[in-house]
Amino acid sequence: MKRRDSRSLASTFAGYFVLVFFALVFLYPFVIQVANSLKTEPDAAANALSPLPHPFTTGGYEKVFLNTDLPLWLGNSMLVTILVTAGRVLLCSMAGYALARVRFRGRKALFSAVIGVMAVPPVVLFVPKFLVLNQFGIYDSYTALVLPLIVDAAGVFMMKQFFESVPVSVEEAARIDGAGVWRTFWSVVLPMARPALITLTIISFQGSWNEFAHTLVAVQSPELFTLPRGIADLVSGSLGKGTQYPLKLGAAVLATIPVAVIFVVFQRYFVRGANEGAEKG
């Protein structure tokens, strides 16, 4: 018995060691990111590993706000994220509800189509999406940034799964009372769907805030750049490689903060979202 105790103590210790080591590996890059965004350029170049800026300066942030279009990118990112998130939550839950509950002709075929759509790798749609935006004459506009992203097959799938897990009885009561499909959906079903809606909101927010590839094929004017696009331009473009790290890292910090805050507050919904993703496979 004694031997087993000391063995499990040793393995607990080893477990903590591995966990702490990997926690460092996974989190220290963020420490480096924040710390170096607050350093001077020579300090960042000489002491990249150090978590303490010496001297401490907000010069990088001042430069990124004053010398780049970052305020514009931030504004565009917020606008696009809000529109895309609102659109996805509403449209995906409507479609998910209809696919789960409303008995209309062709819904099984439609659901198979949604599954099929989820299987198409987004990267493949790259050039094709540009072709369509160009053909419709909406290339290089806010519409091009928002409209193609406003619906997400995975979101439809997630909401359908959720609505199927809710007991029918409540809705049936509403329907018998004479409420139409829309009334039932809006005032009876949606309020019950709060956890799923929060999950979908968070996934959509995170997805559209971080979206980069779509902006490459949707817009080209610098006035329409979102934050990831602007940062990518900053890194690979005009300001050149290898220099201005505090400024670039500052921009990266600003792009990370909103998702980080939401992550800390709504962590369990993120976890749920990741596992919903697992179920769809």
Binding site: F104, P128, P148, L249, V271, A274
Partner: protein
């Protein structure tokens, strides 16, 4: 199976309401289609239609001017595809180089992230450990952040005077110049073992090889620069897959493990013979998702390397973008997209077939 829900009886008492109202079934049909209409329209316009249009464009030499459906656009048939495979030239060389690069990338990232995710999940799942929520969050956090922002951070970390170089210096190692180092890791390894001299590879390997690249070029392994992207991606995606393994581990009944302990199974045996078989569906899922995602690597390449140095971080996804939007050869660019699509589909099916095939074999061996 019919695609309609069981139709309600045509004359039910409720449908026979007074007045010229639509029957309940018709109203359900209309409501249903109205509910799905926005999704159908947008997915149709920005997913289905693009694919159809792209199929046409991939058969032309459209240069981006005007509509690709004008009569003046040269129709070239399957030229854009054959150029990637059979014609000796830059197009094929670039494409095959990108396939090679991505192949090595997949071959390292998929096993590495799967093993790391599984290992972390098993440790986090240990009932004795405290702070589970914190560690879970720490490992998962990189996967929710912006790929562009995190690529910037890694550019800095792997810069010549960056954190990794200084860290290696602490251990007395002279790190490489990560982003400008196009040497293949496999070449370096072969050279290090003294099997082949990378500066003067044997003529048998350099003189010929399939698809316009010599055997020596095919055997390069990922370049040192590509390794930074590999590390970045393993680091960002392991957390998501860890969550999937963790969810599956938590579904395994504790009694099963206890039974194993009573039978005197050691920790490794228990993992190997009880846990791992139960994780098989999740393992399959993680491998499939990993395989599909890794063939699509783009954001990191765009931000960190743009295919450089010496095209060793070029991937089909980036090549397709570059061909279409930088060289304005939209036909070739779309053709590359479709070939990439085919690669992903074929590999996913292949993997499914392999995993399925092994199942009965193992079962018979065990019985």
């Amino acid at each position: 199976m019919a695609d309609t829900a069981p139709a309600p009886a045509p004359v039910s008492p409720r449908a026979a309401r007074p007045g010229p109202r639509l029957s309940a079934a018709v109203r359900e049909n209309i409501a249903g289609w109205l509910f799905v209409a926005p999704v159908v329209v947008i997915l149709g316009l920005f997913l289905l239609l693009p694919i159809l249009m792209a199929m046409w464009v991939s058969l032309t030499d459209w240069n981006g001017q005007g509509s690709p459906f004008r009569s003046g656009v040269p129709f070239v048939g399957l030229d854009n595809y054959t150029r990637l495979f059979t014609e000796d030239g830059l197009a094929r060389q670039d494409f095959m180089t990108s396939v090679r690069n991505n192949f090595y990338y997949v071959a390292i990232v998929v096993p590495a992230q799967t093993v790391l995710a599984l290992g972390l999940a098993v440790i986090v799942n240990n009932r004795m450990l405290k702070g589970k929520t914190f560690f879970r969050a720490a490992f998962f956090f990189p996967s929710v952040t912006s790929s562009v922002a995190i690529s910037v951070v890694f550019l800095f970390i792997f810069a010549n005077s960056g954190a990794v170089t200084s860290l290696l210096k602490l251990f007395g190692i002279d790190g490489p110049q990560w982003f400008s180092d196009s040497r293949g890791v496999l070449h370096l390894l072969l050279g290090g073992l003294g099997l082949v001299d990378p500066a003067d590879p044997p003529a048998a390997l350099t003189s010929g090889g399939p698809f316009g690249l010599s055997w020596w070029e095919w055997l390069s392994g990922p370049s040192v620069a590509m390794c930074t992207i590999i590390m970045l991606v393993v680091w960002t995606t392991s957390g998501t897959f860890m969550l999937m393994f963790l969810a599956a581990l938590q579904d395994i009944p504790v009694t099963l493990e206890e039974a194993g302990m009573l039978d005197g199974a050691g920790r490794w045996q228990q993992f190997r013979h009880i846990t791992l078989p139960l994780l098989k569906p999740t393992l399959f899922l993680v491998l499939t998702l990993g395989l599909i995602a890794t063939w699509q690597v783009f954001d990191q390449v765009y931000v960190m390397s743009q295919g450089n140095p010496a095209k060793t971080t070029l991937t089909p996804a980036f090549l397709s973008y570059q061909t279409a939007f930088r060289s304005f050869e939209y036909g070739s660019g779309t053709a590359i997209s479709f070939v990439l699509f085919a690669i992903i589909v074929v590999l996913a099916l292949l993997q499914r077939w392999i995993m399925r095939d092994r199942d009965p074999a193992r079962r018979t061996r065990r019985s």
